[in-house]
């Protein structure tokens, strides 16, 4: 990172009774970053966010904002803004009053408040609606007001707790772009909690994937997407195909895996040996799809090739998901442009992908398949 860290989290732990919600997390977030905390429910991401805001105190560890340690400080003494999942606008205040609330708490004069209010209303495109009450606003408008309230005092950090979860699909797509724009134009670091990996990948610069209270992987989003470091990250990010098989041969960094009677090749990882049960995660856009050819089977080399038949095609607009049955009844999903010539329901097709395309991990113990 080229910029100095604005937010520093060191070995933060939090338990609720017997449950360890956050186990020893350390992170640094730089000034201009859009940082996503991605994980399923129960992964500790919301708890971590609440610790950052001061609404929870960690059992161990330290949090520093702008170089100043804030662990244990209540929220109203930190210079942060926050956007909540249910918007949580004050129902008894107008849009304008909601937005200037943080400014009033800071003791700004009415003239200063007005100035900041006008600026932020313009920034979030809500000019003219300042006298409305929250129940008179649409979902998207409420979201903008919540963002405005979080940003109006120009905090050092903005925390967002799944803010788009309650919006419908179309609105969400629109807001994803908007929120990203806000962050870029203001240069304030955003810490964005979500369980939606598409959202995280669309908006963020760096992503931390959380699972069961721990960080599975941290890094630039492309890196997290293309080079998952752990089995969980591979399975959670990108909606890949998952294949479970047994290693039949392992030499010179190359694995031969038996999957449901089919033979696959992939890159080996450290510690893998013949006889291991492994999980193969293959992103659907990395599989090439073509009409079956009568040319002789490819032997050896560094590509996987399978014959199959198209069971169904699910149209998704720019792309389509092709559900292809292979082998003895297994199925792979391939993402490709829709309406490929010669490929319709029932067609015989050939799938191919390189031996580097899949991410292979040892299956966790106790996994039956």
């Amino acid at each position: 990172m080229s910029e100095p860290a604005v937010l520093q989290i060191e070995e933060v732990e939090k338990r609720f009774g017997a449950v360890e919600a956050v186990k020893g997390i350390s992170l640094e977030i730089a000034k201009g970053e859009f940082f996503a905390l991605l994980g399923p429910s129960g992964s500790g991401k919301t708890t971590l966010l609440r610790i950052l805001s001061g609404l929870e105190t960690p059992n161990r560890g330290r949090v520093s904002i702008g170089g100043v340690e804030v662990t244990g400080l209540p929220p109203y003494l930190r210079r942060i803004g926050m956007v909540f999942q249910d918007f949580l606008l004050f129902p008894h205040r107008t849009v304008a009053e909601n937005i200037i609330f943080p400014l009033r708490m800071q003791g700004m004069t009415p003239a200063q408040q007005k100035e900041q209010l006008d600026w932020i209303l313009d920034f979030v495109h809500m000019v003219g609606l300042d006298e409305r009450f929250p129940h008179q606003l649409s979902g998207g408008q409420k979201q903008r007001v919540a963002l405005a309230r979080g940003l109006v005092s120009r905090p050092e950090l903005l925390l967002l707790d799944e803010p788009l979860a309650n919006l419908d699909r179309e609105l969400r797509k629109e807001m994803e772009v908007e929120v990203r724009r806000f962050q870029e134009e203001l240069g304030i670091p955003f810490v964005y909690v979500t369980h939606n990996q598409e959202e995280a990948l669309t908006m963020s610069d760096r992503v931390a994937v959380l699972y069961r209270g721990q960080i599975e992987q941290v890094g630039p989003k492309l890196e997290v997407y293309n080079q998952p470091a752990t089995r969980f990250v591979a399975s959670f990010v990108g909606a890949p195909n998952k294949m479970t098989g047994r290693v039949t041969a392992c030499e010179a960094g190359r694995l031969e895996i038996d999957w449901d009677g089919l033979s696959l090749i992939a890159q080996a990882k450290e510690g893998m040996a013949s006889g291991d049960l492994v999980e193969i995660y293959l992103k659907s856009e990395r599989i090439a799809l073509s009409v079956s050819q009568d040319s002789p089977q490819w032997e050896g080399g560094s590509e996987n090739r399978l014959e199959g038949s198209v069971r169904d095609i699910i149209f998704k607009g720019q792309f389509a998901d092709y559900l292809v049955r292979v082998g003895a009844g297994a199925e792979l999903v391939v993402s490709a442009p829709p309406a490929l010539p010669g490929i319709a329901r029932g067609a015989s097709v050939q799938l191919s992908w390189s031996d580097q395309a899949a991410d292979v991990f040892k299956a966790p113990p106790g996994d039956g398949s």
Partner: protein
Amino acid sequence: MAAVNPGERSVIAAQTTLLLLLYLFLYFPIFYIGYLSLMENSVWPFPPIFTWEWYERLQIMSDFHVGLWNSFVIGSGTAVLSALFATAAAIGVLRYPLRHRGWMIGIFLAPLFVAQVLIGISTLMFNRNVLDIPGNIESAIIANTTYSLSFAFLVILAQLARYDWRLDEVAQVFGARPLRCFREVTFPNIWPAVLGAFLISFILGFNNFEITFYNVAAVPTLPTIAWGTLRHGIEPELYALATVVNLLVFVLLFAIYLLIRLGMLRLTLPEE
């Protein structure tokens, strides 16, 4: 529920203390009276000398049995009328969300904002001068119903608000006419609330003084007997009377509590 922060703990401790003191304040007199009713030296009952004397005297007190019976009648009459009107109104208000139903709710809550004394004297005047009927049990029942109807309405409303009216619609789709639907679908689900409202109205009518006093003239009820006794200075039989009434009330309230829990169970909702 969010976890409790350390700063909040002292606040909660203070609040708990206040609440406990409140319970003490509310219940200590009741227990003390119960204690007194069993003490021979009722003026200063220490050290305690146990006796049933006051309860025995209560039994032979003139008018006691008459008063008990009359109170019971008034309570029952009030309960029946209140439960009927309140149930019908609550169903009407919740099942048919018309625009101006707020006004109707307001009408049913109006009696709460009129002092009991006013209800008492106004019905007295009304009965005497307009309807030309003397004070009697019936007019006491009616006057009490006017007041307890609001309570009954609130009790049923609170429980009924969670009832899923689509059940009624389902019944209608399958051919049930309104009364049938009520009997077979609605009532079986809401009867705990109705019974609860019934019992509350009973208690209010049974124990009422200010409204009943102006309406029953010479007819004795338990509260008016107590009043008569009190005017001459306290007699220990009064403590026995009070304890008996308190016990009755608490037994009924416990029943109401069970009904409310049953009601919540029936509507298969998480506990509050």
